[in-house]
Amino acid sequence: MTTNALRRNGSKGQVGDKVFSGAALGAGILILVTLLAVAVFLLIQALPIFSADPELVSGGEGFATYIFPIVIGTVIAAAIALVIATPVGIAVALFISHYAPRRLAAGLGYVIDLLAAIPSVIYGAWGYLVLAPALVPIYAWLAENLGFIPIFEGPASQTGKTIFTAGIVLAVMVLPIITSLSREIFLQTPKLHEEAALALGATRWEMIVMSVIPFARPGIISAVMLGLGRALGETMAVALVLSTGALIPSLIKSGNQTIAAEIALNFPEAFGLRLSELIAAGLVLFVITLVVNLIARAIIARHKEFSGAN
C-alpha cells in the first residue's frame, strides 16, 4: 500500500504506450518503404529507355513522342469519368444523408458500397458487351447533329467502343468511392449548424448549401481525388472497353489510349527495350498521380480554414 496507485498504473501503461507507438511508427515507415521500393523499381527498370536510340522506341521518335498521346488519353478518360461521377456521387450522398428515409438510406448505402466490390474485369465486360452497343445510336446522332464540335466529330464508331464509353464505365467505378466518402462527411456536419440554418428560416436545400456543403468541401475534394486516382490507374476496364488508337479530339470515334491500358495490353508479350518502355510509362503514371495528390492536398489545406470545422 505504500506505492502510489496512480504511478503504478502509469508505469504499466507506459509499456503498452511504447509498443503501440512503435507499431504505429513501424506501419508508417513500412508504407513509405513500400512506396520508395516501387519508385526505385520503376526508375531502374525504366532507365534504359531514356538513353535508348529514339528510333528503337515504339513509334520511332523517342519516348516523349510515344508517351504524350497516352498521357493525354489518360487525362481525357479520367476527366470524363469525374465530370459524370462527381455531381451524381454528391447528389446520391446528399440523398442518403439528408433526404432519404432512414431505412431506405441504409439499404441504398449498402448497394452503393457493393458497386465498389465488383471486380474491374466485370465492369469492362459489361462495358463492351452491353454499354458500348447500346451507345452506338446515340453516338451516331451526336455525330450527325453536333458533329461541328470537334469532340463529337464523326463518323461515329460502329462498335461504340470509344473513350467516351470508357469514361462512362470509369464513372460508374469511381461513383461508390465519391459517394461513400461524401456521405460520411455530410453526416458529420455539426447538428447545430444545420439547426441554426433551419431556425433562421432556410429551406432544406438552403440549409444544405449554407451549412453542409461548406463544411464538407475539403472532404468532397478528397473523395474526388481518391476517385481520380482510381480512374487514372484503372487498367482492365479500359483495356476491354476502349478501341485503342492514335490521339484524336473526337470522343465518339475509336481512338485514344490510356497509360494503364497500354501497359496491360502490351506487357504480356513485351521484353527488352519494349518492357522498359512500358515500365517507364508506369513511372509517368506514378508521377502524374503523385502530382494530382499534391495539388489536392494543397487545395484541401487552403479550404480548411474556411470550412465550419474549426
Binding site: 509499456v15 513501424g26 513500412l30 452497343p133 462498335t159 485503342t244 495490353l265 504480356p268 508479350e269
Partner: protein, 372 residues
C-alpha cells in the same frame, strides 16, 4: 483496461505481420521447378517437375497436355507459365525453364546463345501446336465468302469500305451483299495471331500490304479493336458488318472467309490447316534435330489453308542429368504423339499435326540425351 491496451497493440502488430507475410508470398511460383527431376528413374518411369514458360497461345492446349501427361506418369508435374513467347525464350535461354513455348522459332543467334545452357549442340525447335486463323465476319444471312488475298488485304487496309464493293462481289456470285459499311476489328494487344495474319497478307498481297510484319497491328491503320481473341470475337458479333481475324476455335457463329489458294477457295478446317503446315519448308542451315518451318503463305496447293499459327516447343539437345532428360523426352513425345495432339485439339480446338510431321518431330525429341 490493461489487457485492452496491450490487446490493441498486439492487434496492430498482428496486422503488420500479416501484411509483411503477404509481401513475402509474392515470389513467382514458376521458378520453383528448376530443381527438376529429383529422383532417378527405374524401368523407364519418369518422375519430377518439369518447368516451361512461353507463348500464351498454347495455354489451353498445355493444360490438356499437362493433365494427360501427369495422369499417365504418376509422380510427375508440369508447370507452364504463359508469360509470352519472348519471355519464355528468355527464361529458357537463362536456364530458368527446361522448355519454352514460342510462336516464333529460335533465331540463329538465340540458338548460339542456347549453347551455354544446352551444351555444344544447343537448343532445337519442334512444331507442337497448329492453329488455323479464321477471317471471320458478321453479315446476317451470309455464312461464307470467297475472297482472295489482295481483297482481304484491301479490306483490312480500309481501302474497301462497303460489303457490296465490286471486288468482293466479283468472287461471290449469287451472294446478296448488303450496302453495309465494313468495320475492321483487330487485336489491340500484341499477339501471335496478329503476327501470323499480317505475315500472310504481306506474303500474298505485297502490293497492297506494305506494313512491317509484327505482333502489333500497324499504327497507321485506325480501325476498331479489342483485347484478346474473345474481345475481337465479341465486338464483331455485336457489330453488323464487322470483320476480324481470330483463332478458328473461337469464332462461334460468325461467317468465315474461304481463302483463295491456287485457283480454288479453301474452306477453313483443321485438315486444311495441317495441309498448310506440310507445305512449309524447313529453315535452312539448322541443326539436325531442328524442325523450324518457313511457312509457305503463298502456297498454291489446293485444299491447304495458309493463315495458320504454328507454335513451337523449344528443347535442349542435352540436359545435365538423366532424370531431366528422360522427363523432357517423355513429355515432348507425349505432346507430339497422336494422343497428345488429339487431347489438345479437343480442349483447345486447334488443328492436330499431320502424322508425317509429328513422326518427324518425335524422332527429334527421341534424340535428347544427357550431357557428357
Amino acid at each position: 483496461m490493461k489487457l485492452h491496451r496491450i490487446g490493441s497493440a498486439a492487434a496492430v502488430l498482428t496486422v503488420a505481420a500479416l501484411a509483411l507475410t503477404a509481401c513475402g508470398s509474392d515470389s513467382p511460383t514458376a521458378t520453383a521447378g528448376t530443381d527438376a527431376a529429383t529422383s532417378g528413374s527405374a524401368g523407364g518411369a519418369v518422375t519430377g517437375t518439369l518447368t516451361g514458360s512461353g507463348a500464351s497461345s498454347q495455354k489451353s492446349a498445355m493444360e490438356a497436355w499437362k493433365a494427360g501427361f501427369e495422369a499417365a506418369n504418376a509422380g510427375t508435374m508440369v508447370q507452364y507459365s504463359p508469360d509470352g513467347s519472348g519471355a519464355g525464350r528468355k527464361a529458357f535461354l537463362a536456364g530458368g525453364a527446361q522448355f519454352a513455348g514460342s510462336d516464333a522459332y529460335l533465331k540463329d543467334e538465340e540458338i548460339e546463345s542456347s549453347k551455354e545452357v544446352c551444351g555444344p549442340d544447343g537448343a532445337f525447335n519442334v512444331p507442337a501446336y497448329v492453329s488455323p486463323i479464321a477471317v471471320a465476319f458478321n453479315l446476317p444471312g451470309v455464312e461464307t465468302l470467297n475472297l482472295d488475298a489482295a481483297t482481304i488485304a484491301k479490306i483490312f487496309k480500309l481501302e474497301i469500305t462497303k460489303w457490296n464493293d465490286p471486288a468482293i462481289a466479283a468472287t461471290n456470285e449469287g451472294v446478296s451483299l448488303p450496302d453495309t459499311a465494313i468495320t475492321v476489328v483487330h487485336r489491340n494487344d500484341e499477339s501471335g495471331t496478329t503476327e501470323n495474319f499480317v505475315e500472310y497478307l504481306a506474303a500474298t498481297a505485297k502490293d497492297v500490304w506494305d506494313y512491317e510484319v509484327s505482333g502489333d497491328w500497324p499504327k497507321d491503320l485506325a480501325s476498331e479493336n479489342a483485347k484478346g481473341t474473345s474481345g475481337v470475337v465479341a465486338t464483331t458479333t455485336a457489330t453488323e458488318g464487322a470483320i476480324t481475324y481470330a483463332d478458328f476455335s473461337a469464332v462461334g457463329d460468325l461467317g468465315t472467309v474461304n481463302v483463295k489458294v491456287g485457283d480454288d477457295f479453301t474452306k477453313i478446317s483443321a485438315d486444311a490447316a495441317a495441309k498448310g503446315v506440310e507445305a512449309a519448308t524447313p529453315v535452312k542451315d539448322r541443326g539436325a534435330l531442328d524442325m523450324s518451318l518457313d511457312l509457305k503463305r503463298d502456297t498454291t496447293e489446293s485444299g491447304s489453308y495458309p493463315i495458320i499459327l504454328v507454335s513451337y516447343h523449344v528443347f535442349c539437345s542435352t540436359y545435365k542429368d538423366q532424370a531431366t532428360a528422360d522427363l523432357v523426352k517423355s513429355f515432348g513425345e507425349y505432346v507430339l504423339s497422336d494422343a497428345g495432339q488429339k487431347e489438345a485439339a479437343t480442349s483447345a480446338g486447334n488443328a492436330p499435326l499431320s502424322a508425317k510431321m509429328s513422326a518427324a518431330a518425335i524422332k527429334s525429341v527421341e534424340q535428347i540425351t544427357v550431357a557428357k
